[in-house]
């Protein structure tokens, strides 16, 4: 019924959602402040989703502001640039803002204070081929600034037949505490609108809709003013405040009524979503040749002067806290992101990256430790709250008991880890932690399976090769042996023939040769021989007679 009522305004309601306390006012009282350049910048190579970029500098190199430090490698990857001019001090593993708390490869840059730019070239994007523009975006280092940090050029890939009819600009910013997009819309609405024009041109979208939650009336008003001056038609939709309306698929549902099927991408249904900060970064890259070098970060929670800061990437979180007047006593935890989806930082020394939208200094009174988890009572409140219409209680059972195949069947991977289920759970079960555990186990098992398949293929190939070599060798031997035999056969025949010939000759000779001392004798001698033979015969007879 509520959705029907909302339909009068042309908006739709997604399933579930929660209303956590907003805590946004603390950080929206001051304008965006620019932070002074810190003494060192630590630039992790892993600031985005995808492959690590390839390092293009060496320790000791002098680099200029905007110079490429690492270039995108493979299709899903993003470049990293120098946020200011300076010297590359080291390329080594350092702590990065990641839930693992593990170190990863980083480039440390010591600014020289001159802030000298590399030669920048702006592009007249309205008169440039889309393919060329998107290809050049690969060198911009621009990634999704909403927190997911997905390389933007992938989302813009116009292969000549872009089927996107609706471009949605995400200014919902539904997570509590975070106000960086709010302040950006209030102060830089014109730049956002120019960015929307660029994105609209690149995608060829017919409709452009900016979605802003109704808890940001100033931002919505600023966007309306800026949109009115634009050459293209940009609608600004004020959507009801309901966490997680800032999730891309939820926002698509709210403003268009389209539910993107779980196995499809939003572009398959003709919709693409960009964060307000992302389109601004794209605009600045084309218009001024500025790659992604800084972003707006909300610093709030248990700090003296909460607010928003324009921060060069690589600035340490501790430097950022100082800029916000320092953290108040009692700060026991630093959270990156919002209280619903963020994670605790391993140290205040970690740098700000492209995905850092908010730093919250946590104190026990702001984030009391969760009460101990109690058994699930199957109340199904989580199912009511789930914006993806999953069955969180079932997923919980399957994840808890390592029944991963079943969890996958129940669409575990559609879970956006928004935390609504954990938020409403009366037993305080950390449900999302179980889902994350199950997801990473399944992904690891899939990787192991792939490695096993590769190993099987290579082993089969090796066995086949050994077999082939054996046969080849056998064939070679056989050929050699056969040849020898054949040769030997030829020899034998010849030998036999020779022997036969020799024997024949010998026989012939034998036949020819007769005793010669009795042939050519004179008649007298022959007679004498005959007499002797006769006498010998007589003697032999007498002997026999006797």
């Amino acid at each position: 019924m509520i959705s029907n009522l909302l339909n009068l305004t042309g908006l739709f309601k997604f399933h579930g959602g929660v209303h956590p306390p907003e805590h946004k006012l603390e950080s929206t009282t001051a304008p965006i402040r620019v932070i002074a350049m810190p003494a060192t910048l630590v630039l992790p190579l892993r600031q985005h989703v995808g492959n690590l970029p390839k390092i293009r500098v060496q320790v000791g190199d002098r680099v200029l502001k905007g110079q490429l430090l690492a270039e995108a490698e493979g299709s899903v990857s993003a470049a990293v640039h120098a946020p200011t001019s300076g010297v590359v001090m080291s390329i080594e593993e350092q702590l990065i803002p990641h839930p693992s708390g593990l170190p990863d490869i980083c480039i440390t840059l010591q600014p020289d204070g001159e802030d000298r730019w590399i030669a920048r070239k702006s592009v007249n994007w309205r008169e440039t081929d889309r393919q060329v523009l998107v290809a050049s975006l690969r060198e911009s280092g621009v990634v999704g600034m909403g927190g997911a940090a997905f390389p933007t050029q992938i989302k813009l890939r116009p292969n000549g037949k872009s089927s996107v009819h609706t471009l949605i600009i995400n200014g919902a910013e539904c997570e509590p505490y975070i106000t960086c997009d709010d302040l950006l819309m209030r102060e830089r609405a014109n730049e956002i609108v120019k960015g929307i024009e660029v994105a609209q041109y690149l995608l060829g979208a017919e409709r452009c809709i900016v979605g802003v939650e109704d808890n940001k009336p100033e931002a919505a008003a600023a966007m309306r003013d800026a949109a009115a001056k634009s050459a293209i038609k940009i609608e600004v939709e004020v959507v009801p405040t309901l966490y997680p309306s800032g999730d891309a698929r939820r926002l698509i549902h709210i403003v268009t009524g389209i539910e993107v099927p779980s196995d499809k991408r939003s572009t398959d249904v003709g919709v693409q979503v960009f964060n307000v900060a992302t389109v601004t970064a794209v605009y600045r890259y084309f218009e001024f040749g500025e790659p992604a070098l800084s972003r707006i970060v909300t610093v709030t929670g248990n700090v003296r002067q909460p607010g928003n800061f324009e921060v060069p990437f690589g600035t340490s979180v501790s430097r950022l806290l100082e800029a916000a007047g320092g953290s108040l006593p009692g700060t026991h935890d630093l959270v990156m992101g919002g209280p619903m989806m963020g994670f605790s930082l391993p140290s205040s020394a970690v740098p700000v990256t492209k995905a850092t939208n908010c730093i919250i200094a946590g104190a026990p009174e702001l984030f009391p430790p969760p009460p101990p988890a109690m058994p699930c009572i199957r109340c199904a409140r989580c199912a009511d709250a789930c914006p993806v219409s999953l069955q969180p209680q079932d997923l919980y059972w399957f994840s808890k008991s390592d029944n991963f195949e079943k969890a996958r069947d129940y669409k575990l991977f559609d879970c956006i880890e928004c935390g609504c289920c954990s938020y409403v759970c009366p037993s305080h079960i950390p449900l999302v932690q179980y889902y994350r555990y199950a997801k990473s186990e399944i992904l690891a098992a899939d990787r192991a399976k792939q490695a096993a398949n590769l190993a099987r293929e290579r082993n089969d190939f090796r066995l086949a090769r050994i077999e082939r070599e054996k046969q080849e060798r056998a064939a070679k031997h056989a050929a050699k042996a056969g040849g020898a035999k054949a040769e030997a056969g030829v020899d034998d025949d010849a030998k036999k023939a020779a022997i036969a010939a020799a024997m024949a000759r010998a026989q012939a000779q034998k036949a020819e040769v007769v005793p010669q001392n009795t042939t050519d004798l004179p008649a007298a001698v022959q007679n004498e021989i005959a007499e002797i033979d006769a006498r010998r015969g007589d003697v032999l007879e007498e002997k026999q007679d006797n």
């Binding site: 593990l102 990863d104 490695a451 398949n453 099987r456 290579r458 082993n459 090796r462």
Partner: protein, 188 residues
């Protein structure tokens, strides 16, 4: 009576022809059970099971010659999956064939390697690159950690390096909920 008999004989003949035809038409090449078992085995090709590779072990299991608990790299989950597939009782891994170890890859100390190619001949997945009297090296991404290259090396220059946990292969942990005594709870 006669009609019934004829009908039954006719049916029997017809079905016999259909069955005979489908036996020829849909003949399954190879042994599907061996392939199913082979799909579960980790393809380390280490031979710890006593057979010269995963496929021979799979064949032996299918023929009832080998037990399901002889594969240390597959570990407990592998054994359970085999038990599930074959419908037999799970049993603990047989320690005679070795115990599961953390996944490792071979590493050649290139200063010590003399280029004898013995390890190349031993590698079941062709993951070692080199030639006679040339230095050898392991293609780490292809190495299954079978340790078959260790024994033939005459200069013992190959070691097994356990794959460290990095950001790229890090996994979320199973949620552990601290148990506190009532006194601790009250104090907090």
């Amino acid at each position: 009576m006669l009609i019934a008999l004829l009908v039954m004989i006719g049916l029997a003949l017809l079905l016999g022809i259909v069955l005979g035809y489908s036996a020829l038409k849909f003949k399954v090449e190879g042994d599907p059970l061996v392939d199913k078992i082979d799909a579960i085995l980790p393809q380390t090709q280490c031979g710890q099971c006593g057979y010269p590779g995963c496929k021979p072990y799979a064949t032996a299991i299918a023929n009832g010659e080998a037990d399901i608990n002889q594969c240390p790299p597959g570990g407990e989950p592998g054994m359970l999956a085999l038990a599930d597939l074959l419908g037999v009782e799970p049993k603990p891994l047989n320690a005679e064939h070795g115990l599961p170890k953390p996944k490792a890859v071979a590493f050649i100390d290139e200063n010590t390697c003399i280029g004898c190619t013995l390890c190349i001949q031993a590698c079941p997945v062709d993951a070692i690159l080199g030639a006679a009297k040339q230095m050898h090296t392991i293609i780490a991404s292809e190495c299954t950690g079978c340790e078959l290259c260790l024994a033939p090396c005459p200069v013992d220059c190959i070691t097994m390096e356990v794959i460290p946990e990095k950001v790229g292969n890090w996994k979320w942990r199973y949620p552990v909920i601290e148990i506190k005594t009532v006194d601790e709870m009250k104090a907090a």
